[in-house]
């Protein structure tokens, strides 16, 4: 780069500060990503299982749910491009674990269970994670939590339900519907208000 280019670049950036604030803050906010297309890692059964599991964790209410937010599609992208093989395999195993428990308790795959059956399965698994979390407190865990089949998970993050919940949370609350509709995330608060009462107009 020569001096002339350097000056032009700096001059261009200096001009920015003359733009109106509303124009300035739009810089860089344009859509950058293409829509999700096909699943790369999960097969049809796996992706359906993940979709239904995520929807059970974060269902559609008066705001969009995990399915609306394309959580399964996002997680497939992360499995394909982001996770290391161990993490990916553990998450796929978590999906299998849902089916295994569904078969044991209800004689069906997870996606063939009805709503109350899915909730019952998750209530059991959630309680297992809760026990691990309390064991994960200030003192190192001195007991392993075993599932009904005697499988042991030494820490909460290794529990299949913890992993499913983690990716449901990340996939949903970083999505556009999750951020803009459920969280009503404000990209430009515009001021710092150190103390305010929740629910009162700010």
């Amino acid at each position: 780069m020569n001096r002339r280019d350097a000056i032009r670049n700096l001059a261009a950036t200096s001009a920015l500060s003359a733009l109106p604030f509303d124009t300035l803050i739009e810089v860089g906010r344009e859509a950058r990503l293409a829509p999700f297309t096909t699943f790369q890692t999960m097969n049809a059964h796996q992706s359906s299982t993940l979709r239904e599991a995520a929807e059970t964790i974060l269902p559609r209410t008066d705001t969009p749910g995990a399915t609306d937010a394309q959580v399964a599609e996002f997680v497939d992208l992360m499995m394909s491009e982001w996770m290391d093989p161990d993490e990916r395999d553990a998450l796929l195993a978590a999906l299998e674990e849902l089916d295994r428990r569904a078969a044991a308790d209800h004689g069906a795959t997870f996606i063939d269970c009805d709503g109350p059956q899915r909730a019952a399965l998750m209530t059991t698994m959630d309680a297992e994670v809760a026990r691990l979390l309390s064991a994960d407190g200030a003192e190192p865990a001195d007991e392993y939590v075993e599932d009904p089949d005697g499988r042991a998970y030494p820490t909460a993050p290794e529990h299949p339900f913890y992993q499913l919940k983690r990716w449901a949370l990340v996939g949903y609350f970083t999505s556009e519907p999750g951020m803009t509709e459920a969280l009503k995330w404000n990209p430009f608060p515009g001021r710092w208000e150190p103390c305010m009462t929740i629910g009162e107009p700010s």
């Binding site: 780069m1 001096r3 280019d5 500060s17 859509a31 996939g171 990209p187 001021r191 710092w192 103390c195």
Partner: protein, 569 residues
């Protein structure tokens, strides 16, 4: 004003600049501003590429417009930014502001990990810095004289106070005056007030320990319009740039002023290979073009290194010649030694019952600060010097969901609301200067431009580690006094380097036998060669150091301009 000299003819046309500034970060940007405003024809060299805010800043890209939602490309990081990605700011939006570790290697002994975090672009690390800005005091400048550890600073607070005033007034620092001798007041814009739990905790702590003062963080973020730059709009991720120029960086503040003078020639992509020398003086620098690898020589009457502590030291070590066989301006053998960083990350966190109906609005790029209280008026039996805390109280967002039971409709609704209050504080501790904490040239490793790389050997010693233990315990005690529940102590700190406050490897002093620089950042050995970055620090103190680098740079530039006017350089 200094008259421009006509270009000298030597073989071909070869211009001699009044000054060559190496680096465009916090200190290089300040030097560019100060020297060009004084009328010096100044060449500013930057190893990395140009940054154009409207193209390169990414603070307003929402997570759902980032491929990995802000979690970063960890496979790319694993292969190209294994070290850099240990810094929180090297994230999916901001990782382009950190170097490629493969192009920029360095080595360490196996038992002495050191995380060297670097930014190579116009603006340097001033783009991603954490902006906390605190003055040093005579508790710091007088420390070696008082306790005998290290060499005496060649300055005292009275020398620096006007320069702190000067740089604060331009940069725009928000903060609150507290009248503390160990953390001097400044020229502050309005503070970002503490939230209700911080206010409560600060009052409770002070009630139990009257000398422990919590104050809003002093930060280089504008709380009102300032010198043509807009007030902060509290969007959050400052480390990815700021299109409204609301925080201080070279790109947002100093370089545009330098450019407007017409006296700056800014050359990005200029990797400095060495400082050249003849007849007792620096004559200029040799540069390797980052892209073409062309070797280019530039000449100047004064050479000013602001390439970052370890990069400037590396340039000097790589500038050894027949006169300076162990590195330029290194007759003291202090160059590369006395490497310091701040200890970081020990502290405590806890949850608070109450204030359920209270929250805050805006993503404050700042927090609370607890000023140093150890070895201020009393003497601790186990360690010298001290530490300060940074921290904040907050209501966790949906990220807490994995540590709370539940799923389904109620759980989802709960995750859209703020969680129970938590507060966390962590200590930044002073590190003493040790001759063996040292950077040298690794004879076996070169970077992508064939320039010999550094070997960095540093570890914490007893004073740092004993101090950290105290800092963790005191943090827990203070959280307890504030009424926190479920208090967890963090007792393991980060390895050296990760605080990114590396400093001291070309320290200033009163004696040319034990220091590289005099009190004006001028090398003892080469009168027209200066180092203005953190390399100059004689001690580390415990305050975030960038504001002090700014003050020293402005003061050094004033000295340079005066000496040039009197033809003394």
């Amino acid at each position: 004003m200094i008259s421009r000299r006509p270009e000298r003819q030597s073989g071909g046309a070869r211009k001699i600049y009044d000054a060559i500034v190496i680096g465009t970060g916090i200190t290089g940007g300040w030097a560019a501003k100060e020297l060009t405003e004084a009328g010096l024809d100044t060449l500013v060299l930057e190893a990395g590429p140009m940054i154009v805010p409207e193209r390169d800043y990414v603070e307003h890209v929402p997570p759902y417009q980032q491929r990995y939602r802000g979690l970063g490309d960890q496979r790319q990081a694993g292969s190209r930014q294994k070290v850099q990605s240990r810094c929180y700011a090297c994230d999916e939006g901001g990782n382009k502001f950190f170097v490629d570790d493969v192009e920029n290697p360095y080595t360490t002994p196996d038992d002495k990990p050191f995380d060297w975090i670097r930014g190579r672009q116009v603006g340097g690390k001033s783009i991603m810095w954490a902006r906390q800005s605190y003055r040093l005091s005579d508790l710091d400048f007088g420390a070696p004289e008082r306790d005998g550890e290290g060499i005496d600073w060649p300055v005292r607070y009275a020398d620096m106070a006007p320069w702190y005033d000067y740089v604060e007034s331009f940069a725009g620092i928000s903060g609150q005056n507290e009248g503390l001798s160990q953390l001097p007041d400044g020229q502050f814009l309005p503070a970002m007030p503490l939230n209700c739990v911080e206010e409560h905790a600060g009052a409770a702590i002070r009630q139990q320990w009257p000398d422990r003062v919590m104050t809003p963080g002093r930060t280089a973020v504008l709380t009102q319009g300032h010198k043509g730059r807009a007030a902060c709009h509290y969007c959050g991720p400052c480390h990815r740039g700021c299109i409204t120029r609301s925080y201080f960086s070279s790109l947002n503040a100093t370089l545009p002023v330098a450019e407007a003078t017409g006296n700056m020639t800014l050359r990005p992509n200029s990797v400095v290979r060495q400082v050249n020398w003849a007849d007792g003086k620096a004559t200029g620098v040799t540069v390797i073009d980052r892209e073409s690898h062309e070797v280019i020589e530039f000449r100047g009457r004064v050479v000013i290194l602001g390439a970052s502590t370890l990069e400037s030291t590396r340039i000097l070590l790589n500038s050894a010649n027949s006169e300076f066989t162990n590195g330029m301006a290194n007759s003291s053998d202090a160059l590369g030694r006395y490497l310091m960083d701040h200890t970081m990350s020990v502290g405590a966190a806890g949850s608070f019952d109450g204030w359920e109906d209270q929250t805050y609005f805006g993503r404050r790029p700042n927090g609370a600060y607890i000023a140093r209280f150890r070895n201020v008026t009393d003497t601790h039996p186990d360690f010298i010097r001290g530490y300060g805390y940074q921290g904040s109280a907050y209501r966790p967002d949906w990220n807490r969901g994995n540590s709370e039971p539940g799923f389904g409709v109620d759980f989802k609704d709960d995750m859209t609301r703020p969680g129970a209050w938590r507060m966390s504080i962590g200590a930044w501790g002073e590190c003493l200067p040790y001759a063996d904490n040292r950077a040298t040239i690794d004879p076996d490793v070169v970077d992508a431009w064939g320039i010999p790389a550094l070997r960095i050997a540093m570890n914490w010693s007893d004073n740092e580690l004993i101090m950290q233990k105290d800092a963790a315990e005191q943090a827990a005690e203070m959280m307890e006094a504030a009424g926190a529940k479920n208090i967890a102590m963090q007792t393991v700190g980060t390895p050296p380097g990760l605080c990114i406050h590396e400093m001291g490897t070309s320290r200033m002093g009163r004696d040319s036998r034990t220091s590289v620089l005099n009190g004006f950042n001028q090398t003892w050995d080469v009168p027209n060669l200066f180092v203005i970055d953190g390399g100059a620090m004689t001690t580390s103190a415990c305050q975030n150091p960038s504001l002090t680098y700014m003050a020293f740079t402005a003061r050094a530039c004033d000295h340079i301009v005066g000496r040039l006017k009197r033809f003394e350089l």
